[in-house]
């Protein structure tokens, strides 16, 4: 690993000059520039990013904290974020807390130790928000990535997706198809992450004067297996459901499986709709009808907001960027009510 002074020595100039030609600062004569560039080439010089980060006070790194990359939604988002971050010449540090508070603390400490210039946080739920606010107080830029409630500004800058509206859209679709008894599988606690989606769904049903008694809903986890189990329970308890609203695609895939297990035809016997539109949604059979959320856009906005926050420095006023509205994507898992099951 050669250094600036070695390059300088080879080119017969001082390190300062090398630094200048390398970043196009200061006026340098054509001849020295060429000599320097040649030396750089010859030595295969690469600037030491740590040294640079040290003198600049902050590294060219943004951390993305997610609870688990195992959920296929996160990689999709992480990819979007990474691309966006690269456009601004930053690097992405992946931080999987894996729902482990110890990991999370370790990451936050490291980031606080200027391992990164800012933190993008995916699942504010799984993190002790206090720690984030604490971090922010230390002038560490923090941006929340997937705030689910656009009409409620959290204490930190965030990118919001209108998941309430996604719930509304899903419900409207089902209602329009003539469904009158619609079950729900929610991939979180009643007061958890998915509550707004469910609320959008419920409010819409109420507006259409469609009954939705408490036994028609199951609260569970955000996984395929959980979705399948919940659907089994739900369908056993309430056999005359003709449709199920699921708060996320992953459990929706599980509901689809439960239908298959029970010999139910989708959508003839049962319609299923999810939310998010992860890649796999259109790769299962029957392909999943869902309400797509703008993942890439959210990633880009998050990074954009991060850049603003970084630029603003001290006066980090909490701010919210809202993505475009989720969109209905009709595929094969929803259809008109045809007949009641026997």
């Amino acid at each position: 690993m050669s250094t600036l002074v070695e390059v300088g020595r080879l080119a017969g100039v001082t390190p300062a000059t090398v630094s200048n030609v390398l970043r196009g600062r200061g006026r340098v004569s054509e001849s020295t520039r060429e000599r320097v560039l040649a030396a750089v080439q010859q030595l295969g010089y690469r600037p030491n990013l740590n040294a640079r980060a040290l003198v600049k006070g902050r590294p060219q790194t943004i951390a993305l904290i997610v609870s688990s990359i195992a959920n296929p939604f996160y990689p999709e988002f992480a990819l979007a974020v990474e691309q966006a971050v690269r456009k601004h010449d930053y690097f992405l540090l992946m931080c999987n807390t894996n729902n482990d508070p110890a990991q999370e603390t370790a990451y936050l400490d490291a980031v606080g130790g200027s391992l990164a210039q800012g933190v993008l946080v995916m699942n504010a739920d799984f993190l002790r928000v206090d720690e984030l606010i604490e971090l922010r107080r230390r002038n560490m830029p923090v941006v929340l990535c997937m705030w689910e409630k656009p009409d409620l500004q959290p204490e930190l800058p965030c990118v919001a997706v209108d998941f309430y509206q996604a719930g509304v859209i899903a419900a409207e679709h089902l209602i329009k198809l003539g469904h009158q008894r619609i079950g729900a599988v929610v991939g979180s606690e009643p007061t958890g992450n998915h509550q707004w989606r469910y609320k959008g769904f419920c409010d819409t049903l109420a507006r259409a004067e469609i009954a939705h008694p408490p036994e028609d809903v199951r609260f569970t986890n955000d996984t395929i297996d959980a979705g399948r189990n919940a659907a089994h329970g739900l369908l056993a308890a309430v056999p005359d459901l003709t449709a199920i609203f699921v708060s996320n695609d992953l459990p929706a895939l599980g509901v689809l499986q439960a239908a298959a297990d029970l010999g139910l035809e989708v959508p003839a016997d049962l319609s299923v709709i999810g939310i998010t539109d992860i890649q796999f949604a259109h790769q299962v059979r029957p392909a999943l009808t869902t309400v797509s959320v703008p993942i890439d856009e959210a990633g880009e906005l998050a990074v954009q907001l991060m850049m603003e926050v970084i630029a603003d420095g001290e006066k980090q006023v909490p701010r919210m960027l809202v993505t475009s509205t989720p969109q209905l994507v009709v595929r094969a898992s929803t259809g008109r009510v045809r007949r009641s099951r026997d």
Copy 2:
């Protein structure tokens, strides 16, 4: 962001002493230790990792280069790597080249500029291996993560998975079920990444004296869509296939879809087997029979090898760590030959 000197000032000692208590080096009296710790607490001090990296010559960061995190296999592996890396107190830098040479070069340059202490490379294929060897010559530890040919040592240290054997296992399973005309969908060029898997398959067929003419194979890409299209073509051209070997789970999922499209019952009309056992393999219906490769183990071995290489310093002898053998996982997509299709 407070610094060592500030902490020292508050505790009435010099930065060196603070450094010592913080890392348990040198003998420090109990009383000063306590005073220092209190000061650290009070100021919320976090060591500046850049400064540390600079003086130590290398940061606590390992880079993982993958061609695209969009392929669901990579996140699974990335997760495993991240966990392993954390166990050694390193951080993981995610580097998605996205099959873009410019990105790749940018990453490699950055890593060369000591953004990371070592590089884990997922898809040696997509990278100009020369660049990696060049990097290694600069004393940058490089480890290849998923070498497919255990009996051929590449020029760099690597973790190998016996994919040839995986092909053998898949073929044996199909043969044992009585299949005599077995098609193949390979998710790479004939000389690409998946060639060894396919070779294992072919050799096994030959050993069993089962014919496998060239028209029974399709070479395509490693995606669901590609698998589906290839299967459509294959089944149209060779209708009397009773089973299809697929070199990876993703295209195997596509083959399953093609079967559904064509009204073929799996496995009654057609058996399908994949390789890898990604999470989704058991979450589609019919669940995919596959040959599982030890993803977590590969991740751990890769990191372990990386630690060795880092410790060894100069004398980086190329070395290979081989994971345990892939295992047959029988699910619902393969079965005995029942009848020929009409």
